[in-house]
Structure formats: C-alpha cells, structure tokens
Symmetry: C2
Subunit: 463 residues, 2 copies
C-alpha cells in the first residue's frame, strides 16, 4: 500500500482517473499471458498520456524508491510484465496515437500503446506494410512488441521487430528523456541505442515514441500445404526450399499431435493421418509468386511429400492460415495449463530438434505438441499439463531444461521471440557464460543502477 | 617507447615477427584515410592470430595501463583507427580466414581480417551475396566494416552492415571473451549486444569473429541513367520512384561539378551540361527487373528528366558504375585535400539538403562537389581544399559545422556511414543532447571504465 501523499502526487501529475489504487482494479495487473508464473499485485497502476508525464512518474518513483513496471496489453509470454516487487505498473495504453505515416520516407511514428494491427490497417491505406506479425497482432501493443522484439509468422523473409525499429524516444530511470535514431536507413552516429533498447523488455528505459520502417505491401501471395508421413522428411524439405534459393514469407510446421487437435477444433479438413505438414506462403510480384510457388511445389514433392495442396483462392488460403493460427488455442483447450516454449535453432537443425523434442516427451511422459516457424528455426514445443499437478509440473520443468540444453547445443538460443522475462533469466549463463551475464549486468547497472525499471527481469541483482 | 620487458612479453605471446616496434614500421600506423586529421605514432603494433592471443594482448595492456587501438586496413574516414594516445595498435590482418559458409542457414563466419570482397567472391560460388557494399570493398576488412557499420551503394534496398551481423565473438577490455547471437533470425535472449558492438568503432570490445547473414544473389539487374537540367527535379524524382513503391538496389546522384570532374577523369561519356544525374539499378528476378526498370524510366520522364539512358548490356552498365565509383578519386585529384562528409537526411529532404549545400559553398566560397547514395538520403558533399591553407581550412570547418546543423534540422544524422571517430565526436551533443551523450558515456564506462579501447573516439573522457 502506498501512502496517500504519494498517490496524491501521482494524481496531480496524471489526473485522478489515470491513477488506479483500488484492490479490484489492481488485481488484473498481477499477471500476464504466461502460464504457471508467480503473481503479484502492484501498489498502483498509472496511465500517463505523454512522455512528459512518464518522466514525472519516474521522478516520483525515484523520490520514493518505487519499482516501475511498464505494460502494454499484457500478452507477454515470459512473465515480463508482472510487478514482482509491487510498486508502480505504468500502463502505456493511454498513449495510443499513430503520430505519422510518412509515405515518402516509408516510416511510421507511433506511441507505444498503438495496437500492431491498428498500425497495419492504417498503413495498408497507403499500400504499405509493417511486417512484424506476432500471433497476438490484434491485441498486443507496439510498445510491448518493440520491448520484446517480437517475431511471428513472417520472420523468415521479412525479419522481426528489431529489423524495423529505426528510432525511439524514451525516458531513462532518472526521468531524463532521450531520442535516438531517425528516418535514415544509414545512421552510425554513436552506439546503436535503438537496437539496445529494442528487446530490452523495459529494463533499461520506458519507450514513449517509436519510429518504424514500412515496406511496400506485396502485390500478391500464394499458399501451399505439404503433407508428410515422416517428420524428418518435413524437416529436410525446409532446408531444401532454402537451398533452392527461395525465401518464403512464411514457412510453418505442425506435427501430428497439433494437427489432430487443430482439426478437432476447426474442422478445416487437415490430414490427421500425416506425421507433419508444412504451411508455406510466398509473396511479392505476381510473376515471382507464380515461379516460386511452382518451385516450392516441386521441392516438396522431391523431398517426399505425400501430397501438396496449393490454395486456389483466398478462401482456401484463409482456411490454411486459420488452421495454423488455431494451433495454440486448440492445444490449450486439451489441458488446463499450456507451457509454450520458443527455443530456436538454426533451420538446418530442425530435424534434430524435432527428434529431441519427441524423445524428451517420451522420457518425461508428457504431452508435447510442436508447431511453429520452422523456416526460421523457431519451434513452439507446447507442453500440455495442469499446474495443480505438482508431480507432473516437476517433470515439465525438467523437460523444459532439456529442451533449452538441446537448443543451445545445436547452436540455437533460449528464446526466439517470447523474451527472457522472469521465465528464462536463470538460464542465461547456459547461453552466455559468466562473462556474458556480467556484461549484461554492467549495462543494466550503467543505465538503471537501482534496478528501478522492471526489476526481476532478464538481469537479476547480484545475490 | 615501451620498455623492453613489455615488448618481450608481447613477443612471447605473439611471436617476434608479429610485434613491430621499429620507428619505420610504426609510422604507417599513425594515420588512416581521413583527411586533415591529427597523427600519432603508436608505441607498438601487434598482430595476433587468434581470439586467445587478442585476450592475452588485452591482459598485458591492462597490466601496463596501455591503450589499445584495433585496426583493419585503415580505410577509416573519421579518424577511427588513429592511436591518439600511442600505446598498442592491434592489427587484425593476421586473422583473415573465412571459417565457414553455411549454405543451409545462409550465413558466413569470418575472422575480422577478411577483406569484404574476398568474402563476396567466396559466397558467390554458392549463388549467395553479402550485400553491404562500401566504396572500399576491395581493401576494407570485415572487422573494420562491422565496427563502423559501413554502408555503401546497396543501402536503400538491402540495408547496411548492421542489418547483416547476426553474431560475434569478442574480447572485452578486461580480456574476457564473450560470444553473442547466432544463426537464427529470431533471437531475443538478453540485450542485443551484437547490435551494440556493431558500429561501436572498437571502443567497447575487440571483435575476433563475425557471423553474417547472406542472401540469394539476385538473378539479374538493370541500370539506368537519368539526366536532369535542374538539381531540384532530380531530388524530387528520387521521392517519386519510392512513392511508386519501387525500391531500387542502388539510387545514386552526382551534381554538375562532380559530373564534369568525373568525365574529365574517365571519359565515360557523361552529360557534362547536366545539372545532376541519377544512377539507378534495379535487381532481382528477370520479370521483376523488366517491370521495375520500365516503371523507373516512366517516373524519370514524368519528373522532367532531359534524357533517360538504359544500359543495354553489361559493358554499358559497367561504364555507368565505373563513372560513379570514380567520383571520389576524380574529385580528389583536383585539390590536395578532400574533405568528404556523410551527413544524412531522410530521402524526402534531399532537395532541401542539396540546396543548402550549394548555399553553404557560396557563403564560404568553397568548391563542393556532391554525390552519394541519394536513395537513402546519404549525400557526400566533398570539399576540395588544401590543408596547408589555414585561412581556407577555417572556412571549411565552418562549412562542415553548418552542413551538420542543416542535416540535423532536417531530421537527419551526423554520420550515415563513415562513423564518429575523432572527427565528429564533438558534434554529438548537437544530435543527442546532454542526456544522450551521458547515456553513451555510461555504456562506455560500464564496459571499458579505464578508456583502454580506442580512446578518444566517439565518447570522450569527461573533462
């Protein structure tokens, strides 16, 4: 509980209705979309309307020694928005304006509370596209997405959020405001703080304005579905496509368990006998799309696909992608708790990774459905469990440990797109060693020596 | 002069022939390609052959309190490699192996001493391309290029060096080795130190291994030359091309003074009466190239080009690009000193920037030829002068100040691709303000508290 005088100071800066301190208001800020994660109710939730107000909140936080937890829509999957130490949750949802779409320089400037899809709807009016496409695109905010450097379905061809952030305005732990980057592709002035703050999960500063790159929207697109009776063949087909110098916009995989569950949920007509399917979309100029789609079809057949379906129209295309988007919700309804991982490996290691996941499922007697962004090596092994079952949860934890160890031994990384947050902070030494973790800590402490910003995430205080 | 005992320690680690301490050997390390810049002879030049040896050199440097200046081929244009405080020049030229070209994951792993063109020759054997294309591609090293995040002619469509660095191994100021990033497009594990160290000009760590992304080489390409009797029309044509949703691989400009000088130098048949020419190349699939080239031709004509030439064959294409590549050497032979700037503006501001440069040339009575990467707003106003003429050099300095001020007021940046180094360190507050410069200093001091690595560049010690 905060003293009435602190609340009064906050109300003076933000206005009464933008400062929530009643228990029933605070409860929904105690958690985010991460399964089986600690919860903690904040002392207060504030929703500033400008960079200046964010700066004043940080000044008050500094004065009273309160931690500050920035938050967008709370779709985070690594516990990144949970206010572990209470204090202030700083909601950016009141800062939700698209400030500019610059059709000459192909950029957009937005406040952090803008929903990703809203930005894309706006730029589509100009024939433009903001490519990052996380699964939560219709609810997640730009601020959260930039802070997590979120990925999604178009990573293979178009890259992820960090490849589109060109600049930002942000408030540092001491309340000072800095601006970095700009509308030029070329910019080597000073260290690349735009890149450093992108994906920093709000632990180094609070982003209050974002400048992103846009691209001309592709003229057309075509989707294909390759059906395999063997997971390894599907895995090898992924590499074969790239080896043929085709970079599809999207290249997804679903294993048999995911397929069956999704079909049961969507009745989309998926081949439930298949061991795996690949879902592929190529896009661009009409001529290119024709050529690439034909080549992908050939490659899938050469690599032993039992069947290759090419979506004939927008309706068939929609059906394929609806099925893919249903993977997580379909799996999630099978069991009360869904532990969704995102360990990522070089794409040539996908067959090995898929095999390792199957073996881990068997070893720990767990239900694991695997789907994900195979083209960029980003699989989502999804463990279906029940967090009330302590014995099973202990096995889940061991399985997750092993998944990370395998991913790293294959040259991969702990997190492809969900972030480190609380969930993976303890695994960082596995990937970076002590010298690496110490380097992270030095940067954290250089910019936020008192661990005021989102404490308990990524870099933990030295014990 | 270093004591014999320090030299002996270095020789023990590196072998005698990799430790240079004779004055005549040291002299060539006192400068780089930057014009009108301070010089300083180092105390010793060392050329390690491995990460381990680099680490040991840093341990010795730490023990004796010596500064360390990493250096590739010395093509730097902002004084970045000059050993301002003497000490150790650490040449990476002995670490010049291409360690891997991974055709499945489309990556290459190289040591820092590899010449950019050598990497490109190697990956071309696999139908692949490493797109960053600075003017010094045949002499500059990958280590230097990554440390400067260098740009070049293909920035508009393909981005610059920072968009291709996926991971690295590096030695920190304390001699510890860390490894960051990997072969996956998606990687959000910890802060993006790969991005932080890219473009840090060797002030935060010594890069000893680099992992870069490759792309399938474009199938074909086509070049066009648009001739304008008015610089503003040429500037507007640049925006018009992008507005038509075409992103050429290359979109360059040369002004009249550059044209005349280049023609005199190359006899390439350039239109010396023109006020400006645009040189454009589109690339990709055959069908795309045809379509885009035709559209570019239309746009150039609509925007008032006096003439549009389309290169009919490889020979004509080569002639166009030879002329462009000759711009700097041609201008450089007119006067003893060539002050080459790279202030960069959003591309929509190119007409304003060109106008401002003309006015500045007039105001200070200077010869300024302007050419550059117009498509990404990266102009190279080139002041032709003589560093022995103190009075003129004073005017040059004022002109440069004004060019920076205009660039920043137009939403641009101090440096598009040449780096900050010594040359622009004093201008940083203009772009970032005091809070921004303080943030840079905090990061520098967190990783290199004693200013051991490349001191005097980017972030200066607080006075």
């Amino acid at each position: 509980m905060l003293s009435e005088s602190i609340l009064r100071e906050l109300r003076e800066v933000l206005g009464g209705k933008n400062v929530l301190s009643e228990t029933e208001d605070l409860l929904t800020y105690a958690y985010d979309a991460t399964a089986a994660m600690r919860r903690k109710t904040p002392d207060v939730v504030v929703a500033p309307k400008s960079t200046e107000e964010v700066s004043q909140v940080l000044n008050i936080a500094q004065k009273y020694g309160l931690p500050v937890y920035p938050r967008g829509s709370g779709t985070n999957l690594s516990g990144g928005t949970i206010p572990l130490e209470g204090g202030i949750v700083l909601s950016l949802l009141n800062m939700n304006r698209i400030l500019e779409v610059d059709t000459e320089n192909l950029t957009a400037t937005v406040q952090p509370g803008v929903i990703i899809q809203d930005l894309n709807n706006e730029v589509a009016l100009h024939g433009l596209l903001y490519p990052p496409d996380p699964g939560t695109v219709t609810t997640a905010t730009m601020g959260g997405s930039v802070s997590e450097s979120s990925g999604g379905l178009r990573g293979l061809k178009y890259g992820v959020t960090k490849h589109y952030v060109m600049g930002m305005k942000l408030v540092l732990a001491d309340g000072k405001v800095i601006k970095w980057g700009g509308k030029t592709v070329k910019n080597v002035t000073g260290y690349d703080l735009t890149a450093l703050f992108t994906g920093a999960e709000g632990t180094l500063g609070i982003i209050t304005e974002i400048l992103v790159k846009l691209i001309p929207a592709p003229e057309t697109r075509k989707s294909l579905l390759g059906v395999f009776d063997d997971v390894d063949k599907a895995g090898r087909a992924i590499s074969a496509i790239i080896r043929n110098r085709i970079i599809p916009a999207t290249l997804e995989i679903m294993d048999n368990m995911t397929l069956r569950t999704v079909e049961n949920f969507t009745h989309a007509g998926l081949p439930i006998e298949a061991e795996a399917v690949l879902l592929i979309e190529v896009d661009g100029y009409k001529e290119v799309v024709e050529r690439e789609a034909a080549l992908v079809e050939d490659v899938l057949q050469q690599e032993g696909a039992v069947e290759v379906k090419v979506a004939k129209d927008e309706q068939e295309r929609e059906r394929i992608w609806f099925a893919r988007r249903s993977a997580l919700p379909a799996l999630a309804q099978k069991k009360p708790t869904t532990v969704l991982e995102d360990a990522t490996v070089p794409r040539s290691k996908i067959p090995e990774m898929l095999k390792a996941i199957r073996e881990i499922a068997k070893k720990y007697d767990l239900l694991i459905g695997t789907f994900g962004h195979a083209g960029d090596g980003n699989l989502h092994p999804t463990i279906l469990t029940d967090e009330r079952d302590k014995e099973e949860m202990a096995r889940v934890e061991k399985a997750v440990d092993e998944i990370f160890q395998v991913a790293i031994s294959l040259g991969g990384t702990l997190s492809g797109e969900h972030g480190i947050g609380i969930a993976k902070a303890k695994y960082l030494p596995l990937e970076f060693g002590e010298a690496g973790v110490r380097t992270l800590r030095r940067i954290k402490e250089a910019l936020d020596p008192e661990y005021r910003l989102n404490p308990g995430k990524i870099v933990l205080r030295k014990e």
